[in-house]
Symmetry: C2
Subunit: 198 residues, 2 copies
C-alpha cells in the first residue's frame, strides 16, 4: 500500500454538516476499525471555539489550522461558509502551498469553489454541487466542469458533487490509499447499502 | 400536512457520527430550505460541554436534555456510547415517558438497543446495525428482528439499520411528515444519488 497516512478535515463557520461528516465517518471508521493501517484523522479550523455549521450543528476542531500536525490529505467541505473563504487570501495561499508540497486535497460540494478560486482546478475536470456548476466555471480558467460526475479524481486534487457525494469520494479514497477489500469492509461497517425511499 | 414540528436529536459520549449527522442534514436542510413548513431541529444532551463522538469528532448540544424545549420527534442515534445508556435507568424512563406522551422516536443503528431495553420494541418488528441483531432480540420480548430492512416504521417507534441507514429513514420522515414532493426536494438538495465506488 502507499499514499496518505494523516488526514485533516477542515471545519469553518457555515460548513455544511454532511459534507464533512460523511467523509469523516468513512475515514475515521477506517482508522478505528483497522488500527494496523496507521491512519489518523483529525479536524482543523481557524477558530478555537465552537463552530456553527451551515444548518446549525455546533462542532469543535481538534487543532488550530496553523498549529496542526502535518498531513497528507485534506478534506475540504462545502457549505455557505465557503463564500467568505473565496476572499480569504491567506486561506487560498495555504491551499496552493499544500498542493505544491504534494498534499492531496479532496473537496466536497462547494468546497470545489475554493479550490477553483485558488487556481488549483485550472484546465482540469472537476465537479461541485448541482447549484454551483456555473459559478465553478467562472472562478477558474478552463475548468472542465463535469455536471454528472459523482466525483472527479485528478490525482492530487479531487472534487465531489453535492453534500452526500463525499461519502462515495471517501470510499474511493480508502480504495486508492489501501485496497478495494478495505473499502468494502468500511462500506459494510457503515452499512452503506443506500435505499432512498423516494 | 400533519405530524411533528419540533425535532430533537440526542447526542451523548460515544455517539456514532453519521448516525446523527445523516438525519440531522436531511431534517435541518428541510427546516432551512423550507421555512414555511415550520420545522425546527435542535440537538440535546446530558452534557453541557464538548461531547466526544465514537470516532472522535467533538460536538456541542444546543440544549441540556432536561431543559430542552418540547418536541414531537426524537432521533436516537447509535454508537458504542449506547452501551452505558442500557444501564441508565433515568434515560430509559425518559424514553418510556416520551413514548407514552405520543412523541415519535426514531432510532438509527444501535440506538435500537436502547429502545429495546426500554421495552418500547416488545412484540414489534425492528432492526439495527448488522452486528447487533442478536443482541437486539435479547434485550426485549418477542422483538420481530428484521435483518434485511433498511428501516422499520411502527408508527410512533421507528428503527433504522446501521449508520448510513439514518439518511434513508430521515427522508422517509420528511415524506411522512410532509409529502413525497418535499422529500424529493430535500433529497435533491443533498444530492443523494448514491453511487458507491465499490
Amino acid at each position: 500500500m502507499s499514499g496518505p497516512r494523516r488526514i485533516a478535515v477542515l471545519l469553518f463557520e457555515g460548513v455544511e454538516e454532511l459534507d464533512f461528516a460523511g467523509p469523516w465517518e468513512v475515514l475515521a471508521a477506517w482508522a478505528d476499525q483497522f488500527p494496523d493501517d496507521g491512519i489518523e484523522v483529525f479536524t482543523i479550523a481557524d477558530l478555537a471555539g465552537p463552530i456553527r455549521c451551515a444548518k446549525g450543528l455546533q462542532v469543535l476542531a481538534d487543532h488550530r489550522r496553523e498549529a496542526a500536525p502535518a498531513f497528507d490529505l485534506l478534506i475540504l467541505p462545502g457549505g455557505r461558509g465557503t463564500r467568505p473563504l473565496l476572499k480569504d487570501d491567506a486561506m487560498l495561499a495555504w491551499l496552493r502551498d499544500l498542493a505544491e508540497r504534494g498534499v492531496t486535497i479532496a473537496s466536497v460540494c462547494t468546497g470545489a469553489l475554493v479550490l477553483a478560486k485558488a487556481g488549483l482546478l485550472d484546465g482540469k475536470p472537476a465537479t461541485t454541487h448541482h447549484g454551483s456548476l456555473t459559478l465553478l466555471a467562472e472562478l477558474g480558467r478552463d475548468i472542465d466542469v463535469q455536471p454528472d460526475a459523482r466525483f472527479v479524481d485528478n490525482g492530487t486534487v479531487m472534487t465531489a458533487a453535492g453534500v452526500s457525494a463525499g461519502i462515495d469520494l471517501a470510499l474511493h479514497l480508502v480504495m486508492r490509499m489501501h485496497s478495494v477489500e478495505r473499502a468494502r469492509q468500511v462500506r459494510r461497517y457503515i452499512q452503506y447499502d443506500p435505499s432512498p425511499p423516494i
